[in-house]
Amino acid sequence: MREIFFYLFAFLSVAFAVISVTHRNVVKGGIALLASFVSLGAVYFTAGAEFIGIVQVIVYGGAIVVLYLFALMTMDLKSFGKEPLKTLSVAVGGAVSLVLLVSVLYAGYKFYGGVVTAGISGAKEIALPLFYRFLLPFEVVSVLLLVATVGAVAVGRREE
């Protein structure tokens, strides 16, 4: 049962990722990206990474993609214009990504028989390493988020 859902949602996330990258309409691409991220959250659930799956849906689906769509709403979509597809860039992009895919699969081949442990890691299990072993990075991340918020406001402010 787990396997079926893993493969189903993995396929869905890759398919929606392809749509989001190749679709000419940016808003539809954003919606496809949202679907891809929610499917990835489901993939994490099937792998037993419960907390990461929930956070994936909330942060990526609920915050980041909505932020992008919200920023898109402030722009004039008709002014975006057509993107001419250059054969050279498509060829280069396809070749580079194919090489990268093959190298990732080659590197992963030695883990071919690796069995995924069945344990479920919810918020309680994550909290132990997060707040004991990685407490300093956690605090640094909070400062990073504060700096990013201030920076975003400072950059996006309209100058008088």
């Binding site: 787990r2 493969y7 993995a10 996330s13 890759v14 990722a17 392809v18 990258v21 190749t22 691409g29 954003g30 990206l33 891809s36 990835l40 993939v43 792998a47 990474a49 990461i52 956070v55 994936q56 942060v59 990526y60 915050a63 980041i64 993609v65 992008y68 920023a71 722009m75 975006f80 214009g81 993107e83 860039s89 992009g93 580079v96 990504s97 194919l98 990268l100 895919l101 699969l105 992963g108 883990f111 071919y112 690796g114 069995v115 995924v116 442990t117 344990g119 132990l128 390493p129 997060l130 072993r133 991340v141 990073l144 988020l145 990013a148 918020t149 975003a152 406001v153 950059v155 996006g156």
Partner: protein
Amino acid sequence: MTTFDFFVLSGLLFAVGLFGVIVRRNVISLFFSLELLLNSANVLLVGFSKLQGNLFGEVFVFFVLAVAAAEAAVGLAVVVALYRYRKSVNTEDFSILRW
């Protein structure tokens, strides 16, 4: 499901994202592709975390999420400022720094 399946999923997502970064000319689409790249790394981190049986990989995914949120906020602010300045989000119109 084995760890290799996580490699396949991660590699496919990374390939799609890299293709988008190279081919697309719209800055918002570039951001979508960048998020896909970050997500492919997250998939592999979760897979390794489940292979090793400890949770350090998932904690790292948590940090990657925070960094992605910060990147999205600052990047979008830059894009909105550029759009106000140039009335365009096409990367080919942002060539004033090119010599």
